[in-house]
């Protein structure tokens, strides 16, 4: 009973995660991390700190040593389908995320992979496109859209799977100020557990009450965003500002 309750409390639980690139370079050198349900966490740190590598472990794209649980489900080969419907990953470059000839097919791709019934898929496509403000774009192709629009559709392709945990890699990178502001407003309305990889201090402050800072494959700081990001010395030392 106690174990079930405990499992129910956490969205993400990572224990002793280690990973090396195929050439032997260590990328993650022992990560321990717990994220509660409904929490919004910023993951910060210099380039090459292992932020993206960590996020790709959360739904089994990469597999290192250690144990990862999402919503009480262990991330392993056997559970991979379930894990991928729990954790939605939005990649940095929307051109990597959107590969289909039309928006509709791309937003439907995840739900169809989950073997969702066709009527539900249609509804999910409609609902998520409306939600990101791209309704009526079903038949458009991504290469006719602006960067901001592609970014919104990328988010929709993951939201259509109704994930419990949303992981965003550099959601505001390369966006113009208005696009960035609108995208942030969109993200702030989401009720799911969020992990946001970012270099953007302002974004971390607005979206995430909690921040973890990574450096050379380790978590070097974990705490309230307001405390961490107001410490100028710390920001300078860890290369965040």
């Amino acid at each position: 009973m106690g174990v079930i309750e405990l499992a129910g409390e956490f969205a993400v639980r990572v224990n002793g995660l280690k990973y090396s690139y195929p050439d032997g370079t260590p990328a993650l050198r022992g990560i321990d991390l717990v994220v509660r349900r409904g929490e919004s966490v910023a993951i910060m740190g210099p380039n090459g700190a292992g932020k993206s590598t960590l996020t790709m472990h959360l739904n089994g794209i990469l597999a290192g040593e250690g144990r990862i649980e999402v919503m009480g489900v262990e991330v392993n080969k056997k559970n991979i389908k379930r894990v991928r419907s729990i954790v939605g990953l939005v990649f940095q470059d929307p051109d990597d995320q959107l590969f289909s000839p039309t928006v509709r097919e791309d937003v439907a791709f995840g739900p169809l992979n989950m073997r969702m019934p066709v009527e539900d898929v249609e509804r999910a496509v409609k609902r998520t496109l409306e939600w990101v403000g791209m309704e009526g774009s079903e038949e458009r192709s991504p290469h006719h859209m602006s960067f901001g629009e592609k970014k919104r559709v990328s988010l929709a392709t993951v939201l259509s799977m109704d994930p419990d945990i949303l992981v965003l890699d550099e959601p505001a990178a390369n966006m113009d100020p208005r696009g960035r502001r609108e995208f942030m407003e969109l993200l702030s309305c989401l009720k799911v557990t969020r992990l946001v990889v970012t270099h953007d201090l302002d974004m971390a402050r607005r979206l995430c009450p909690r921040t973890i800072v990574m450096e050379k494959g380790l978590i070097v700081a974990d705490g309230a965003t307001s405390n961490l990001l107001s410490d100028k010395d710390f920001l300078y030392r860890s290369g965040l500002a």
Partner: protein, 253 residues
């Protein structure tokens, strides 16, 4: 960067656009096959094929200007053949002004020109009356190998991104004083091609990761199954029969 897309009019609304992709591909491929198997000496059939395509062009509201400019793509190939015309000796010559040209050579030129124009015209109609993804789904339903349809779909999606990448690299190169005039500049082009290849491969890896993250397991899901309607069968039979008639006229003549 903006590109001129090969399917600019694919989303118009017309009786032709609303037909099933399979009906259109079968009908237009029938025209192409009839045309390329027609003997060079037969003139009339070519008029019939052109007539079929002209009617479809009008019915689909595709601007003539667009069709003509797109058809120009065959001109370089025809010109290559034209260069050899004076050397193709056969029986009989034709006098055009001061030029004396062998009849056989002109016939070959006409043959290449008419067949390539009809074929390209048919493909322009197919790609401008059918949304690309519908076309690929149609091909899949007609049991065209999945490898072909998937590779085409990815190419359609990513070719302009790769062209943009090449263009950016070219600008960065030119802004550092590259003129392309010296032999050692050839090496630079080699580097650009190599790094384009590497970038594309890296992108392919990231695209695949993003697909796996959404539960992709190697099989593409399908959801919209359309059925051939009476209009599709009607269109298909009229066009195929007309093309067949053209081909028969060639035999009879």
């Amino acid at each position: 960067m903006k590109h001129d897309f090969v399917d600019r009019y694919a989303r118009l609304e017309s009786p032709v656009h609303s037909l099933d992709a399979r009906a259109k591909s079968i009908a237009l491929f029938a025209v192409i096959i009839a045309c390329v198997t027609t003997p060079a000496t037969a003139w009339w059939p070519v008029c019939i094929y052109a007539g079929i395509l002209a009617i479809i062009t009008v019915a689909a509201h595709i601007p003539w200007r667009y069709v003509l400019t797109r058809c120009l793509i065959v001109i370089p190939f025809v010109l290559v053949v034209a260069v050899f015309v004076p050397f193709m000796k056969g029986d009989g010559v034709v006098h055009i002004g001061a030029l004396t040209l062998p009849k056989h050579g002109l016939l070959v030129l006409w043959n290449v020109f008419s067949k390539s124009i009809i074929s390209v015209w048919a493909i322009i109609l197919l790609s401008n009356t059918t949304v690309f993804s519908d076309l690929m789904h149609g091909f899949e339903r007609m049991h065209v190998p999945k490898f072909f349809t998937i590779v085409s779909a990815f190419m359609y999606r990513y070719i302009f991104i790769i062209i943009d990448e090449a263009e950016r690299m070219k600008r960065a190169r030119d802004s550092r004083g590259y003129s392309g005039r010296w032999l050692w500049h050839a090496k630079v082009i080699g580097h650009i091609i190599a790094s384009l290849f590497l970038r594309s491969q890296e992108r392919a890896e990231r695209v695949y990761q993003a697909m796996s993250a959404r539960g992709f397991d190697g099989t593409f899901p399908r959801w919209r199954e359309t059925r051939l309607m009476a209009a599709d069968y009607l269109f298909m039979s009229i066009v195929v029969l007309a093309a067949l008639a053209g081909r028969l006229v060639a035999i009879w003549a």
